[in-house]
Subunit: 338 residues, 2 copies
């Protein structure tokens, strides 16, 4: 199952997002328009690069969280559109800088922007998007929300540096790995979900609930992403399987398979991930070892654990179509792996 | 003449900043403390890289503008400390990303951060500083100032992309070059100077005056920097002369020398700057051609023109030690070239 679902195909394939899309549809359209408008520049490289990433697909999960939590909290205003677009810009800037940092050739089955426009342009267009993200998010004039998103920007970068420092280290512990994904992925989900109640002026408890929902959903999302990179729980070999493996990324499936493996197997992981010596058939071997040690199954279980926390966090809100839709997002994220 | 004047040596050498430093001394200390505090992280790479650039010298001109315009406008509060530190973080993030973009080995006579820590770390520590810059600047809770600095972040990145697109093009016009330095250098000077009156709640006319002062000072500063890279008006060959030349940077001295030169001379500029074929003696030839065509002298004259505009912008303010000190900064910036 692919991860990037272009807008047009979404409605058929991603059943779990249907209720949400029905509720936020018109707002999401406005977000898309704003994104297009704000990536416009006389410097033509900018819309080219930005649209390569932003328009070309992506589930828009983070902006959807802003719109949906704002909806659930009864927000009446326009600020959520700008925060949704701003957070998508922050996310896109991270992807652009990540490509440079990882020296990736591909991103999710598409040629990486840095291969098309060069590292320099990716660094600078990322900076441009980050600048415009803040510019847009300042406009609604809601200071507490600006605290949350700027805090997220700082934490994300710190998480990426942490990841860089522990890169290719097969001895990485599960805890160390969790610290990285909390910062680099879940923090922005948390910020996106927290902005909704904040814009709506809801009590602290509601903000904390939505933040917790976003944080745990983000963790679950990243864990499932990691499992999908090895074919998901069924370990089916799809066309993009093994990207993380080829880049030497230490993700939870690797952490588990390495720890549970024999000394011979650990040698395999060290050769392929630490030394980067990857031969024909190694991706298949990696997937087989993961199956043998239930590494993907247990990664999905861990994800379910965080998904359950996300669901419970929302329980303090009264029943509403918004709440139900947000709960379904959790299922959608976790069930991608099956 | 060196451009980077470490803190300790400043007081003897940079006479033109004396009055300003006497006025803002205690505030500048607080800014330095805040910078050290906010670059602290458990991820040790972060303070290492950040301090390589931030603590190791630099004139702190941009933070000084925040402090001085706030002082001139009678600001009573602490917000200027955070904006001063935040703007220095923005500047440092730009330097880190610039090193990656330019593939520089050196920055102002020091080994470039990217040579010590790698491109990846420089990209990410830049992002970390940018995130923390906004976090700090959100804290005082003054929305109009946040508009100004986030606008500056977007414009700076756009200017850098513009520069990248016209890189190594000897046919660049003076206007095209001016558009680049307005965005990539002067915009942040303008933002720094505008924050002072904004924090102080002064009328629009005062904001516009300070912004114009900062913008024109920034242009003058960059032009003098460009001239100094070829030895300044006297074209004396110091130890860092020719950095821009070796990197193929098209600056105003090049634009002028190229346009005023013979076809043979233009061929020299094309070979060295566009093709990057630099042989022994070429730096000296470049300096000689600039002398022949008064390219440095006229770059300094252009700088004086913008310096004069900066000075006139401040004339609406009543006489004060702050105003005098800010006027002296203009002289300091322009006279570095002699």
């Amino acid at each position: 199952m692919g991860i990037v679902i272009p807008l047009e195909e979404r409605e058929e394939k991603a059943a779990g997002l249907d209720s949400l899309l029905a509720l936020i549809g018109p707002d999401l359209q406005r977000v898309n328009q704003l994104i297009l408008q704000r990536t416009g520049s006389d410097v033509t490289t900018i819309p080219e690069v930005a649209n390569h990433l932003i328009s070309a697909g992506g589930k828009r999960l983070r902006p959807m969280l802003v719109l949906a939590t704002a909806g659930m909290c009864g927000y009446r205003g326009d600020g959520h559109i700008k925060f949704a677009a701003g957070i998508e810009f922050m996310h896109t800037a991270t992807l652009l800088h990540d490509d440079v940092v990882d020296e990736s050739d591909m991103r999710r089955g598409k040629i990486a922007a840095r291969m098309l426009w060069g590292n320099e342009t990716c660094v600078l267009v990322g900076d441009f998007l980050l600048g415009h993200a803040f510019k847009m998010m300042v406009e609604p004039g809601v200071l507490p929300c600006l605290s949350v998103v700027s805090q997220a920007a700082a934490v994300i970068a710190e998480g990426e540096i942490l990841q860089l420092n522990s890169a290719k280290d097969t001895q990485t512990t599960e805890d160390a790995y969790m610290a990285v994904i909390r910062s680099k992925t879940a923090e922005l989900f948390a910020a996106a979900a927290e902005v909704g109640p904040m814009l709506s002026g809801r009590p602290k408890a509601d903000e904390a609930a939505c933040r917790s929902y976003g944080m745990n959903l983000g963790i679950a999302f990243q864990l499932i992403d990691d499992a999908l990179d090895y074919g998901g729980q069924s370990a089916k070999l799809g066309k993009n399987v093994g990207d993380d493996f080829r880049e030497g990324k230490i993700t939870l499936p690797v952490v588990l398979a390495f720890r549970r493996g024999s000394e011979n197997e650990r040698e395999f992981w060290r050769r392929t991930l630490e030394k980067g010596e990857i031969a024909d058939g190694d991706v298949e071997t990696a997937c087989a070892l993961m199956k043998k040690h239930d590494a993907l199954k247990d990664t999905v279980e861990r994800a379910s654990h965080y998904g359950a926390i996300a669901r419970d966090a929302l329980e303090i809100f009264p029943a509403s179509p918004w709440k139900s839709a947000l709960l379904e997002v959790v299922d959608f994220c976790v069930q991608r792996a099956y």
